[in-house]
Symmetry: C2
């Protein structure tokens, strides 16, 4: 078996109490004793056992991160931010990839329920209802990301989606567009709806014509099919620009243009939202709005840790600024190296 605090105490000729205090530093220990104990610990290869410490202290230094799909670049990036911040505060992250299978996801709720974690960062999209989540979480500290959990007073970390929509509309208006098609998610997804609202408000303000809209389901295939249908239904194309509320859908539209030999941006300009890697390497590269997703994760995690430490939180959280990334799909670069202009959202 592994060596325990008693073994160290015996060999060093002190009490377990003293060994514990040498490790934690929570009580002064004479230099001589400390050195002796440290030497013994090193010799025996003693490492305090987490499980025992957890039980004694009533906490685990573990944070639960509930995301619907770690394979999605957004959540992977978010995870990165959470993980990084947790590590820098001595916490570790338990990943609960809830997926879409309720059955297997129950393990994750049990985890939360059994106090295996000290707190939770939760991102909507799991196969649970908000009520189930709240029941499992009970009074555990909670921070949410991107979408609210109804009936919860937990802080919400989100990007300034509205302003992202505004930036895209302004950019397209400046290029001379006055008619546009908006590809959005199914109703109920607040992030997509905010982006549409921002776009529509600015578009109207700038003298744009009434928008045509279609539901692209927030996926590549959905965007591709919805855009395809729009082209079929309206061959004369009552619009010259497309705003998709995420990059997946924008890439779907781009794909249709590629197959039909429609020049982008010559005939149609296309803009997305999120700045996923695939949009950086597509031809043409995709104009989009970047969110600082890793930073969302960092902030969510540091809020949670503040809560765990009993520190006060700001009452309201400011949406994180977003940035417009102008690439080739709206504005063709003539230089061999495409330039990337960035308008910061909080200008």
């Amino acid at each position: 078996m592994s060596v325990s605090i008693k073994d160290v105490a015996r060999v060093a000729g002190v009490s377990p109490t003293t060994v514990s205090h040498v490790v934690s530093g929570r009580r002064p220990v004479s230099d001589e004793t400390r050195r002796k104990v440290q030497k013994t610990m090193a010799e025996l290869g003693y490492v305090p056992m987490r499980s025992a410490r957890n039980l004694a202290l009533g906490r685990t230094m573990l944070i639960g991160l509930l995301v619907p799909d770690i394979g999605n670049a957004f959540f992977a990036e978010l995870t990165k931010g959470v993980e990084r911040t947790a590590a820098s505060h001595g916490y570790n992250v338990i990943l609960a990839n809830t997926g879409f299978d309720r059955q297997s996801a129950l393990t994750h709720l049990e985890l939360v329920h059994s106090r295996a974690v000290d707190g939770v960062v939760y991102s909507a999209g799991s196969p649970f209802t908000d009520d189930e989540i709240m029941a499992a979480i009970g009074d555990l500290p909670l921070v949410t990301v991107d979408e609210t959990v109804t009936a919860s007073a937990a802080p919400l970390i989100t990007s300034d989606n509205y302003n992202g929509g505004v930036l895209v509309a302004r950019h397209l208006l400046e290029l001379g567009h006055r008619s546009a098609l908006v590809l959005h998610a199914a109703p109920g997804l607040e992030s997509s709806e905010s982006r549409v609202r921002g776009f529509a408000d600015e578009w109207a303000r700038g003298g744009g014509a009434p928008l045509q809209q279609a539901d692209g389901g927030f996926t590549y295939e959905g965007g591709r099919d919805a855009f395809h249908r729009c082209l079929e239904d309206d061959p004369s194309r009552g619009w010259t620009a497309v705003f998709a509320t995420n990059d997946e859908m924008a890439l779907g539209a781009l794909r249709v243009c590629h197959e039909r030999r429609i020049d982008v941006p010559g005939e149609i300009a296309i803009a997305g939202f999120d700045d996923i890697p695939a949009g950086r390497t597509s031809g043409p590269a995709l104009t989009t709005v970047s969110q600082n997703v890793a930073e969302m994760g960092e902030i969510a995690c540091s809020y949670l840790i503040k809560k765990l430490n009993g520190e006060a939180l700001p009452d309201s959280t400011m949406p994180l600024p977003v940035a417009l990334l102008v690439r080739e799909s709206t504005l063709y670069a003539h230089a061999p190296q495409p330039s990337e202009r960035s308008d910061h959202g909080d200008e």
Copy 2:
């Protein structure tokens, strides 16, 4: 505080021993007693506390997953597979995103060292040397993915990289190519080297000319720059096809062609390896070799769980089959919907 096993025992009028056995099912309990206890647990909202159970049992039902970068699609997908399998066996996954910062990564080694996890799935690329890893892991059960840890007898889960290279070479030869450029990673990365070996062996067998090679560092930028240099150094292009040992580099090469108005696959055919999402949506879509990465994660995790249960493992692990995905970057589809032909590696 939360309700303990003693509370339940007192209210139900039985001993803590009996409550424990109702929960675990490890000892027969009379129907009447069981029902009474279950009713009481439900009423009080009792959930056994994990920390206490962990200490008593000497295990945590937690698996440590060490990956270099969860933001990378390969590792995100791998994580998904590990997580899924772990959940289905009642285990949870602690994510240790080692990144490239040694300092913060120490938290993760401490985690392993302090027995906070029952076992480890390790994927190379962390800022630790193999020796440091092995020292921290000690005698904890370990399974490695993709790259071996030297001086460890741990099982290794890997794709059939060699055969992937063979498949690409055969495909390009069938299309009539006889001269090719290979973009590979820096030496020492076994996965990349196997792919090159498979390609080169088949290429020679099929009558191809000696290969030109360049180091693209396994990244988008590296591939782009290396390919750029190859074009500059050899304007007459002594090759008609490019095989990059991963998709990132292939997309970099594709990018250069796009900027220089070089037709792909008309003037140059390009193939990659990995089947990352960006290659599915690029124009032209990228011919590549798909690995079943999530399955690698599943297998790694189930091996680890077998080890944890003391079950025997197969002595040698068969490399997982790969599949060639023919897309537009080597063979332009004339139908509006590009067809996707799949050759299985184990045919």
